[in-house]
């Protein structure tokens, strides 16, 4: 239990997707002009992470990792399909995003109106594939830990994009040197926010 809470807090603050690993920067910069759309994209990322990470975890555990196929036939214990993980993870993500889009459209039209336009963007969002690859590399022990990692990193990403959107809304009234406007200042603010998030390192025990 302690382990699960630990992973959750760590993935929000000290190992934040954006500030520590720069994952999902493209959509983070492109969709952070207003708080409302930023929050929509952030929610969609949390949603997709919560679905794809457990699926990829099961795939990794029972198909891809060395000796994982032993449950089908003990003779296959030697087989290591690890090299296929990139292609299968990205396929799962693309398929899941498509599936989620169709299901949400059918059963929750209101939610679809809010999240719908962001879902196709997410299939190629580095944060989703990055989370799957980190999950594989860090070898989380069970599916509950994977869930808490997915929720934590999603919330971390949400926090980051909503706060930069709020800052950029205010920034449009300030007097920035012309070449710095837009992209330049967004990078520098993200850097400063990253330094602020570094102070959460003290939480680590």
């Amino acid at each position: 239990m302690e382990q699960i809470a630990n992973i959750f807090v760590k993935s929000i603050f000290t190992e934040n997707m954006i500030f520590a690993y720069f994952l999902g920067m493209c959509s983070y910069l492109a969709v952070s002009k207003t708080v409302k759309t930023a929050s929509g994209l952030g929610l969609a990322v949390i949603f997709v992470l919560l679905i794809t990470l457990p699926v990829n975890y099961l795939l990794d555990r029972y198909v891809l990792s060395p000796g994982a196929l032993a449950w089908i036939n003990p003779q296959w214990a030697e087989v290591d399909l690890g090299f296929l993980s990139f292609i299968l993870f990205i396929a799962v993500i693309a398929a899941m995003v498509q599936l989620v889009e169709m299901v949400v459209e059918k059963f929750a039209p209101a939610l679809y109106n809010n999240l719908g336009i962001f879902l196709p963007l997410i299939a190629v969002n580095c944060a989703i594939l990055g989370a799957s690859l980190f999950m594989q590399e860090r070898e989380y022990g069970n599916i509950l830990e994977v869930f808490s990692y997915a929720l934590g990193s999603g919330i971390g990403w949400y926090l980051a994009i909503v706060s930069i959107a709020a800052i950029r809304e205010k920034l449009s009234y300030s007097n920035i040197p012309a070449p710095m406007r837009g992209l330049g200042i967004a990078f520098i603010i993200t850097g400063l926010m990253g330094i602020a998030f570094m102070s959460f390192m003290g939480l680590q025990t």
Binding site: L23, F83, I87, A94, L183
Partner: protein, 204 residues
């Protein structure tokens, strides 16, 4: 014509500062120069060859499923790069860890395929892909030179700042630990964008 396709993305329309593409996996590997160079090379090769392959296939792919086809081609190339790195440069592939896999979702690759390779012949597409990869590599290497030099006083592992300068040896100098932390990469990149925009504005 081909020369312009090659030179444009290097300076005037560099993918990172001007178009804000491909930052995702770029910055996390810039603490040291060596992994950054390997990363730049890998991205250049993947961008070039995925553009070429998809340009060859451009008339046979149905429009509706093109994203999946693109992802599969790119992922296959990235797996090749990853396996080669694991075989011949194990240490570096350990340092790059998940970021080799993240080349798949690098926006530059998809961006160039969508914007260029789908409408052009294979050879210009190859040139365009390689040039964009190189443009990305230049920025990556510039950021990592600053970070390694100021953060650890070395370049590709060789000591550049003389040992006698350090406080520990009775000198006046100390490495700036801040440059090792991830946020500095963003601030350096912000400054690069500033310089780029200022120069481009003057030219116009």
């Amino acid at each position: 014509m081909n020369k312009r396709i090659f030179l444009d993305p290097l300076f005037k329309n560099n993918p990172i500062p001007v178009l804000a593409l491909g930052i995702c996996s770029a910055l996390a590997v810039t603490v040291k120069l060596e992994p950054a160079m390997v990363m730049a090379l890998s991205v250049t090769l993947v961008t070039g060859f995925s553009s070429m392959i998809l340009s060859l296939l451009r008339n046979t792919i149905p429009n509706r499923i093109r994203i999946i086809v693109q992802l599969v081609v790119v992922a296959a190339l990235v797996i090749l790069v990853d396996q080669i790195l694991k075989a011949f440069a194990w240490e570096i592939s350990k340092q790059l860890s998940v970021f080799v896999g993240l080349i798949i979702t690098n926006c530059i690759i998809m961006g160039r395929i969508e914007a260029f390779a789908l409408y052009n012949k294979p050879f210009p597409s190859l040139v365009d892909g390689l040039a964009n990869g190189l443009g990305y590599g230049i920025i990556l290497i510039a950021v990592s030179i600053v970070r390694e030099l100021l953060g650890s006083g070395t370049l590709i592992g060789y000591q550049v700042i003389p040992q006698q300068w350090y406080v520990a040896n009775g000198g006046f100098y100390e490495n700036n630990g801040l440059f090792i932390l991830p946020p500095m990469a963003l601030i350096i990149l912000g400054l690069i964008v500033w310089v780029f925009n200022a120069k481009n504005a003057k030219r116009v």
